[in-house]
């Protein structure tokens, strides 16, 4: 705060009055009059105004002026005669400073440059001139009113290939020629998935890269790699801004759908900042921590974002759609709060006694909270806002969904309902849909479960394609990482993808050097062989054989490997099959989709979405127009 003082010099003036007639002799000078009193000092007080000030929403300076009536050298409130404001013209600089963590980050910069380079390559190759008056704009730039990001957790390329064949074979085809819905998208590229500190990544680091354009460490959510995992004190100053948050600032509707817990790493990276992916509720955190747990951040997304971007307080209205599992993280550790299909004696885990589902309902009077299929079915397409928690933990595998006691909607149903609700906003929407259990079925070593969930995911993507206009909706389909899942041997065309290898021209299964048949699908590591026949819950492998691995070769001669409960052989014994480090695919449709065309850093996906929807620019324009309204 600067204080400027200006003194005025006060003078006293005498006036002489004369009569008509000859001028007399000038008399002698009279005695000097008495000096007048000193005049008052005039003071000017200059005060910096923060963003969010009622007079200068984008910040600025307040200039107060007045006379120092009490001569104390300071301009008191009662002495202010006038106030003037010099307001910042827009919030461009403010936004830049608030995005500093991202903008200064080398991952962010490199991924952003990749988009620029691709744009130049495209323009050069196609000779497409930029529209007049918009020299900086590339093809499709800013044209996406809506963005839908589909993430198949663990849906590596071998998973897509096997699911494609399985879906084709389920339709009576040979299978190999078939295409999953998103394989018909016009553009595809590859995504390099490694984390800053890991060759083989995890979902937290990869989804943070996709959502905020910055690669980060394993296990952390929405923060850059300067953080120390598990150390709350390192979060401040390292928070990143996500595409979902930018969409919110741009006045779009926002939604998240996941078949995993809604607090799990992938969905969490759209809205939360956490030093540890496991801090899903307060009971998971170190005692006395000052950080906020992930569930709390979801329910309080709106006020927390307003704190970070006060200039947008009038625009930010919270996430309109959140569907997934994970009720346990939102309920107090008290059996009185158990839901109808609670799997535990005490369903809730929260030790702060907060019922976040109730707090959400209190905050959003027009919102609808649901827990089961019946509640979901009753949600009208015109609903203003919805929050659905359909399971205590993860939602069911698609193959096992019929076993849920209270009933759960499918990923297609959730996606369709989400689009119905979000599309009511004329400014458009951002939606993230995660198929979270492809990953879990692979971890359990069960290809059947992983492929069935991939097929269900492809159905949800088709529903989104059918419900949106490709001229104004960017749809991206990708994975956070792959799995050590292989398609091997030399099976003949049309051989059942879940079956044993039957060579070209043969009718009986091929035999390995050990004299035993082998399957086309397999895992490099994990729990290994289980033959659980018609069991549709992939996780049954963890309670079979006391959870111990059973790796190596088995005699599969009399085993039906195409059943839901068959778990493929594995080589290296581990308590759970692992992620893999190879690239995953990006499939793109809609404005800006052509940017998915090559081998990209995973962080480039954020920049692709930002290019197509011009999220940063739209957010800044939104702030300027709000400032104009407030003026």
């Amino acid at each position: 705060m600067k204080l400027f003082k200006y003194s005025l010099i006060a003078t006293a003036m005498l006036t002489l009055v004369a009569c008509d007639g000859d001028d007399g002799v000038n008399g002698s000078d009279g005695a000097d009059g008495i000096d007048g009193n000193d005049g008052l000092n005039s003071l000017v007080l200059q005060t910096r105004l923060d963003v969010g000030d009622s007079n200068c929403p984008n910040g600025g300076v307040q200039i107060d002026s007045g006379q120092d009536d009490n001569n104390d050298g300071e301009l008191q409130d009662a002495e202010i005669d006038a106030s003037e404001y010099v307001c910042s013209p827009g919030n461009t600089e403010v936004a830049a400073s608030q995005l500093r963590t991202s903008l200064d980050n080398s991952w962010f910069q490199r991924a952003s440059q990749q988009v620029s380079a691709n744009k130049e390559t495209w323009i050069s190759a196609t000779q497409v001139a930029s529209p007049k008056g918009a020299a900086a704009m590339g093809p499709g730039q800013g044209k996406a009113k809506n963005v839908i990001l589909f993430v198949g957790d663990g849906m590596g390329i071998s998973t897509i290939t096997a699911a494609r064949i399985l879906e084709g074979q389920m339709q009576g085809k040979a299978g190999e020629e078939h295409q999953l819905s998103f394989e018909r998208f016009p553009f595809a590229g590859l995504s390099k998935t490694y984390n800053v500190d890991a060759q083989t990544p995890d979902s937290a680091g990869t989804m943070t890269a996709m959502m905020s354009g910055v690669k980060t460490d394993v296990g952390v959510i929405g923060v850059d790699a300067d953080i120390e995992r598990g150390d709350c004190s390192t979060v401040a100053g390292n928070e990143l801004v996500t595409a979902l948050e930018l969409a919110e600032l741009a006045g779009k509707s926002t939604g998240i759908v996941s078949t995993a817990r809604i607090t799990h790493a992938t969905p969490a990276a759209t809205y939360a900042k956490s030093a540890d992916r496991n801090w899903e509720d307060i009971s998971d955190m170190p005692q006395g921590t000052e950080c906020l747990d992930i569930a709390y951040q979801l329910v309080n997304f709106e006020p927390l974002l307003e704190q970070r971007f006060p200039a947008y307080a009038d625009t930010i209205n919270g996430i309109e759609v959140a569907f997934g599992g994970g009720r346990r993280h939102f309920l107090p550790k008290d059996a009185a709060f158990n839901s109808a299909d609670a799997a535990s004696e005490v369903e809730g885990d929260r030790t702060d006694n907060l019922d976040l589902t109730q707090l959400w309902q209190d905050a959003y009077a027009g919102g609808i909270y649901v827990e089961d299929q019946a509640g979901f079915d009753a949600i009208p397409a015109s609903a203003e806002r919805v929050f659905g928690l359909f399971n205590e933990s993860h939602m069911q595998y698609e193959a096992d969904r019929g076993n849920d006691i209270a009933g759960e909607p499918s990923i297609t149903e959730m996606t369709s309902k989400a689009i119905d609700i979000l599309a009511q906003n004329e400014n458009g929407f951002f939606l993230m849909v995660e198929s979270g259990r492809i990953d879990h079925a692979h971890h359990a070593g069960n290809a059947y479960g992983a492929l069935q969930d991939t097929i269900a995911f492809a159905d949800a993507i088709q529903a989104a394609v059918d419900m949106t206009d490709p001229q104004e909706t960017l749809i991206l389909v990708t994975a956070d990482h792959g799995h050590v899942f292989t398609i091997a041997g030399y099976p003949k065309r049309g051989n059942p993808i879940l079956g044993k290898v039957v060579n070209v021209g043969a009718e009986e299964p091929a035999l390995a050097a050990d004299g035993m048949p082998y399957t086309t699908l397999g895992y490099a590591n994990g729990l290994g062989y289980r033959n659980l026949a018609d069991v549709t819950n992939s996780d049954a492998s963890y309670v079979t054989n006391n959870g111990q691995p059973d790796t190596g070769r088995k005699d599969l001669t009399d085993v039906d490997t195409t059943t839901a409960g068959y778990h493929q052989e594995a080589l290296i014994p581990l308590s759970s099959e692992t992620h893999s480090g190879e690239d995953v695919s990006i499939h793109a449709s809609g404005p800006g989709a052509w940017l998915a065309n090559g081998t990209h850093e995973q962080s480039m996906i954020f920049h692709l979405m930002n290019y197509a929807a011009d999220l940063v620019q739209k957010a800044e324009e939104n702030a300027v127009s709000m400032a104009a309204i407030n003026d």
């Binding site: 296990g219 359990a444 659980l532 026949a533 996780d539 049954a540 079979t544 959870g547 111990q548 308590s575």
Partner: protein, 229 residues
């Protein structure tokens, strides 16, 4: 007449009050395997309503089962040394494998076994009845002492040739406060969902799960349903 009913009711109440709550107890078993080489282990069975725990002191592992309102069994495995636990989904019957029977968890013996044996002795105690059963099941000589009131195995002997397995109840406590304390202590452990074991490869507990120790096959009950060993 009314007075008589009241007095009878009061007297029955006294009798009932004198007997402990059989649903809340801790029973300690000594399990001895005599074969070419002998071994002894211990299992502590704890019950609290719809919750049962099998504690293996030697391995420092406890497995618990909760019977949910819908009759499904939810298993949790506690690793005492690490103060960590793995939670499993409410179980479904796994075809071709041992079913997760509540009776096996609650009383360590399938009712089907009693039906196959012959009752050779019965003794009525103040709060319980002790029955002795004998017979041959699947070629093995079996003897079982069964506390019918408390649904506890008093002893169990299974013999085939030189190989003998013997379960012996060495202590039983009906201390509700103690069981509650024990249950609360377990519930204070950090838990991980079974489906999340593969998610976090930086957690040394999870990555080393294979080596944390597992319960020996067959030690979680004296006898399963026929053909389900």
């Amino acid at each position: 007449m009314k007075l008589f009913i009241l007095i009878m009711g009061w007297y029955s109440g006294l009798l009932l009050a004198a007997c402990p709550d059989m649903d809340t107890l801790q029973a300690t078993y000594e399990i001895t395997l005599s074969d070419k080489k002998n071994s002894t282990s211990q299992l502590v069975l704890s019950r609290h309503g719809q919750w049962v725990a099998h504690q293996y002191p030697k391995q420092k592992i406890t497995e618990t089962w909760l019977r949910t309102a819908h009759g499904r069994l939810k298993k949790t495995r506690y690793f005492e040394h690490f103060h960590r636990a793995i939670e499993y989904a409410p179980g479904e019957t796994i075809q071709g494998k041992r079913p997760l029977s509540w009776a096996m968890r609650y009383q360590l013996v399938e009712p089907a076994l009693l039906a196959q044996l012959t009752k050779v002795h019965s003794e009525t105690l103040e709060c319980d009845t002790v029955e002795t059963y004998q017979g041959v099941v699947d070629g093995e000589q079996v003897e079982l002492s069964w506390m019918a009131g408390s649904h506890l195995v008093k002893y169990f002997i299974k013999q085939q040739g030189a190989r003998q397995i013997r379960w012996k109840l060495v202590d039983v406590e009906y201390d509700q406060a103690k069981v509650t304390r024990y249950k609360r202590e377990l519930e204070s452990y950090q838990t991980t969902d079974f489906a999340d074991i593969g998610d976090d490869h930086t957690d040394p507990f999870l990555t080393d799960m294979v080596h944390q120790g597992f319960i020996e096959h067959g030690s979680d009950g004296v006898y399963h349903a026929p053909h389900n060993h």
